[in-house]
Amino acid sequence: MRDDAPVRLRSRSPVEGLERRRLRPLEVVAQSVSGAAPSAAMAATPAIVAVSAGHGTVWSFVIATVLALLIAGCIARFTRRMAASGGLYSLTAKGLTPAAAYASALASLLGYGLLAAAALVGAIVYLDALIGEVVGATPGRAGAAVIMAVIGLGTAVLVLRGARLSARVVLAVESVSITLMLIVFSLLLAGGPAAGAPAEPTAMPPPGAGGILAGVLPALAAFIGFEIATALGTEVRKPFRSVPRAVGLTAAVTGVLYVFAAQVQVFGFSATPGGLAGQTEPVVALAAANGWGWLPVLLDLGLVMSFFACCLAASTALARVLFSLSRDRVAPRVMGRTHRRFRTPHVAIAASVPVTTGLPVVLLAAGVPLMSVLVTMLTLAACGFLLAYLLVCAAAPVFLHRIGELTWPAVAVSAVIVPILLVVLVAFVVTRPLSGVLLGGLAVLGAVGYLLLRLRRPAALAAIGVYDETTTGDVLFPHRGAA
């Protein structure tokens, strides 16, 4: 026995109260896939990427997929070794300073909060369109606000009733949504290019290397939310296998879906002047060109379902991050409570879902156009996620070095991905001035919060990063170890 290294184990996990080790691996994959909301990105993102990448649109998505896989690899360095409820910030805390972990926590809160709100807005936008197509009349602004509040309430109930129930709903909804999208895109592929003025088949910008790289920016933003599984580490069975797999698999699957969707759309508009880049609603336009007026109904149904699943998954993750921050004593203590029967962080849910639902309802009531709300929210969320990814990728090799398990591939991957993410993040903020201003304001608020915390609770800040530690109950012969 090693007398020099006494082993001290807690008898209870610091994140006790959540339902430990219950979710099935597939349910966690579903949460992560829904977080990325591939259906919406399949329909909308290729046209945005095409503005800069032109015929190279597919390549932008291929590069973005590789980057997402590299990020997943960095996250896996942690999730193969620890199970957390706070998502990326809990992981970052094990490699970088408390300040970096705090920044990651704020970035995650911003990301998940705005993702949940944006998904709610997206669900309403397409539900509105769907009702318009089927019934012929739209519910109007007041009606939309009511529907939004009802969906928000439904989300709160499902997330509260337990990780398993919401995971199953997410799995079912997302499966249907992706199936619908695959049907829609396969039909479009079979339908051939839309007829246009055939004189100028290559009116899209030439696919220079610079254009393709610029296209990576929006393409990478289509992946945000794919890491949601990391916030469910405590609750999934065999977390050290399930979580890294869920994140890696989500990056791969959504990447393949995006490349497929981009290829279909580039091909579909190959004979149209301006190509894909000139389209605002490419899928609808392609369907119209084929004379399929009913196809947008399928598309909108898939989008509504995808956005709803995304809202559920993001709300689940948001509540877990708040819960974990509370157990870290960084957020108010009451948010660390868990419901006795449902074993979910009910106070954190009650504090967060009304905000993520209320914000879009207020904006809708104020008459702000929903589409611009959706775009702005997603842009801000993407900035939050990119910052969190940047930090966790930088933390990975430091963490491995700290526990004495550093290998050269870990260093190499981080050396490649960290500068790229830094450039992407800066480019993202610079090219969107409104987001830059809003983010600057949030950063100032965050810094003030950090300073206050450092003054008031320096010990809590220094120890930030609780995770589901090994407890006496997990070890064989725990008492022998303490000798």
Partner: protein, 248 residues
């Protein structure tokens, strides 16, 4: 990128390495680091890390809170058969004394390595089926003592199968039952394995650490077991307390 290569039967070297790593953690003791294991086994570092992560993922090993040290996980305890400890004379005398106090069957079970083993079944009565007791612990009073001790009992229960109409088969009912067992320090089942038989069991805990080491059970007719039986439970607890220093 998507994780370590899955082990198949065609990779004898990997299986062998995994067993060596497991053995090294046992002999070095809790807190041994990946680097130390890699050095003492003369195994490449990357291989060692991959195997360690795999063993942690399968819960044979756990990482200690510093995340760099390893120890045996609870699942590793299931690799070894429970040592059939020959009961010492003093302990046997206590159990026999209990048998003298009642006309019902008195059984003693050990929980070494988280597995239930009947170490002193009543010679004058039919003993519960050892295989069933191991596979369906939730239906037995002795099994419920073990389950109530777990952080998550689901790890030890594969399926909830009914034996009689009374068997608890819903997860939430069982959860409630086990919470009551943990609270009251006594487990009971009435006609859940066989219609006409029931059982009461009390835990025997190590006097130093309070860890569950064994269970003392009393089996009798269902209707009689269902009664409060305060006197007989007091007697069982009394004998359990006398057994504790003799078994731990």
């Amino acid at each position: 990128m998507t994780g370590p290569i899955p082990l198949s039967g065609r990779q004898p070297k990997a299986v062998r390495s995994a067993l060596h790593v497991l053995e090294e953690v046992v002999s070095a003791g809790p807190g041994v680091t990946a680097k130390e294991i890699s050095e003492s086994l003369a195994m490449p570092q990357a291989t060692t890390y991959r195997i360690l992560n795999l063993l942690v993922a399968e819960e044979y090993l756990v990482r200690l809170p510093d995340l760099s040290g390893f120890a045996l996980g609870r699942r590793a305890g299931r690799l070894a058969l429970p040592a059939t400890t020959a009961l010492n004379t003093a302990a046997r005398a206590v159990v026999d004394h209990m048998r003298g106090q009642t006309r019902w069957a008195v059984h003693l079970a050990s929980y070494a390595g988280e597995q239930i083993a009947l170490i002193d079944p009543d010679p004058d009565h039919p003993a519960p089926d050892a295989g069933q007791l191991a596979r369906f612990p939730y239906a037995f009073a002795l099994g419920r003592l073990l389950l109530a001790e777990q952080a998550d009992w689901r790890a030890l229960v594969r399926e909830l199968r009914p034996f009689t109409a009374r068997t608890v088969t819903s997860e939430s009912d069982l959860d409630r039952t086990l919470k009551a067992v943990a609270r009251d320090g006594v487990a009971r089942q009435c006609g859940e394995v066989r219609e006409d038989r029931g059982c009461i069991a009390v835990p025997i805990r190590g006097p130093r650490d309070g860890r569950l080491v064994a269970g003392l059970a009393l089996a009798g007719p269902t209707a009689r077991i269902a009664e409060p039986n305060e006197e007989i439970i007091r007697l069982l607890r009394d004998h359990a307390a006398r057994l504790a220093p003799l078994l731990a």
